[in-house]
């Protein structure tokens, strides 16, 4: 079942930089997709268009039946509530505890406190951090911080988890741990779209790989590896 569809998508930034050309792509529900490519190949732009931080200049991006390109600025929050996003720099609030950081994403919906608590603990359990609820981000390792960010992204049970170089700041072992957590989330049915530079990781995961070069989609492997494109 088609979940995400890019149809003739172009993106030209206001300063005239062309970031994405003529992109056509379709992702099924429950897929795990890597987006790879050199810096400036358009990975980040593609991901930003998916969560409507940027709008495509032309074309359509359909996400779960909604044309993301047409979502108004004032309604973007409704889209964001249906997706989870994880970043390279975690984007945790340093003055909130682990629990508060995750609860934050639910409290803005006005969920009752006992439900917030139930969901937060479930999400933290899933990423293996149930024992750290009262810690502050600065007291955690990089891998743990990223797991908190993942817990926050999935606490609302989104259908899609977008990851923008989630392991970019982590050492290989920690990266692998974080990747296992993300894989577990994928196994529970969440679609994953991940931009990454991490060649080794992509090789080990054996998932679908989309390779971008200068803003164009040049290769798309069903069970591909990074090795394929580099040859």
């Amino acid at each position: 079942m088609e979940f995400i569809k890019f149809k003739d998508v172009d993106k030209t930034y206001k300063n005239g930089v062309n970031a994405v050309y003529d992109m056509n792509l379709s992702i099924k529900k429950g897929d795990f997709v890597f987006i790879i490519g050199a810096s400036g190949s358009g990975k980040s732009t593609m991901i930003k268009m998916l969560y409507r931080e940027e709008r495509p200049s032309n074309g359509e991006i359909i996400l779960g039946g909604i044309n993301v390109a047409k979502v108004k600025n004032s309604k973007v929050y409704k889209l964001r509530r249906k997706i989870g996003i994880v970043f390279q720099d975690f984007k945790l609030l340093p003055k909130l505890t682990v629990y508060e950081n995750v609860a934050f994403a639910l409290e803005i919906y006005g969920l009752p406190t006992h439900e917030v608590r139930k969901k937060v603990l479930k999400a933290l359990d899933l990423v293996g951090l149930k024992s750290k609820t009262k810690s502050y981000p600065s007291q955690l390792s990089g891998g743990e911080q990223q797991r908190v960010a993942i817990a926050r992204a999935i606490v609302n049970s989104p259908k899609l988890l977008i990851c923008d170089e989630p392991t970019g700041n982590l050492d290989p072992d920690t990266s692998w741990e974080v990747m296992q957590v993300i894989k577990k989330i994928n196994d529970l049915g969440t679609t994953i779209v991940m931009a990454t530079h991490d060649r080794e990781m992509v090789d080990r995961m054996k998932k679908r790989v989309i390779y971008l070069e200068d803003g164009r989609l040049v290769k798309d492997y069903e069970k591909g590896t990074y090795v394929n494109e580099s040859n």
Partner: protein, 299 residues
């Protein structure tokens, strides 16, 4: 129910943020405190200056002298017709015997001369002392009184009164301009400090947007925080006004050096000033926050 829960959480977060960002909160609060203190002093000075000029104006009196040849009943009639003039507040008739008595009090020489007069010989005039409602129109009123048959002379301190009125007008205008300028400076200063407080939390706003907070629910805690900062910042200026002015008023016994310079009574004046300060702090705090957050929201 959902909306109430969100509101309660935002109020909680708004208050919490003041403590969490303590150093910047203190910076904002002290800025608000200092500007509001200046506003408080300006308000007190302006109100007292206004009070003094008003008291002066109320003291302006027109004195009309009545022709000695006319009968007492006619004098009463003149009094009634003066009372009929629109701008006249009150008229007091002082007959020439009283005038003579008043003059006797001023010096012994005069007293001995005046004592030599019999009642019929008294050359003085019966006089009418007239208070006006609007001192600006005093010369016109004086002219109207002069036109009444039987009135010989009219005096109201011609020249001096006009000059005083011009001076008062200038003072009043200067006060208004100064107050407006001061309030604008306050708005600007407080607004800017709060802006800095919020700019340092750009990241927080960014994350709120990413996890799906609506623009409204992002703004709400910040506006509440602005409310707290404004209210806390107005505490010291309010205390200074309440205790300081009351003490000052008591110390001077309600007069500033001379009994002619009356101070505004401390109650209810201080409460009014306190209310203005609180309102100014709170409104500027909320509005400043609102505008600063808006900058980081794509709307």
């Amino acid at each position: 129910m959902k909306a109430i829960r969100i509101l309660v959480r935002n109020v909680r977060d708004g208050f919490k943020s003041v403590g969490r960002n303590l150093s910047l909160s203190i910076a904002s609060i002290s800025c608000i405190t200092i500007t509001l203190l200046i506003v408080a002093i300006a308000l007190v000075v302006a109100s007292n200056v206004e009070n003094i000029t008003k008291a002066f104006k109320e003291d302006f009196t027109i004195v009309a002298f009545i022709d000695n040849s006319i009968a007492k009943e006619q004098a009463a009639q003149i009094k009634t017709s003066i009372e009929g003039i629109g701008n006249v507040e009150s008229v007091t008739l002082v007959d020439k015997k009283e005038v003579a008595n008043e003059m006797k009090d001023t010096s012994d020489e005069l007293a001995s001369i005046i004592d030599s007069w019999s009642d019929e010989e008294n050359p003085l005039y019966d006089t009418l002392q007239i208070k006006v409602k609007d001192s600006e129109k005093i010369s016109k009123t004086a002219k109207d009184i002069k036109d009444i048959a039987g009135v010989v002379t009219v005096k109201y301190g011609q020249g001096i009164v006009e000059e005083l009125l011009t001076v008062f007008k200038v003072i009043e205008k200067a006060m208004i301009v100064a107050m407006i300028a001061l309030v604008l400076v306050t708005l600007f200063l407080i607004g800017n400090t709060i802006k800095i407080t919020i700019f340092s939390r750009k990241r927080e706003i960014e994350i709120m947007r990413l996890v799906g907070a609506s623009n409204f629910s992002i703004k709400q805690p910040f506006v509440i925080e602005g409310f707290c900062l404004g209210a806390l910042g107005s505490l010291i200026p309010i205390a200074v006004t309440l205790y300081g002015y009351t003490a000052l008023y008591k110390h001077f016994n309600g007069h500033f050096f001379s009994p002619f310079v009356k101070l505004v009574p401390s109650e209810p004046f201080v409460y009014l000033v306190a209310l203005i300060l609180l309102a100014l702090g709170v409104i500027v705090g909320m509005f400043g926050s609102y505008r600063a957050v808006r900058k980081y929201l794509k709307i």
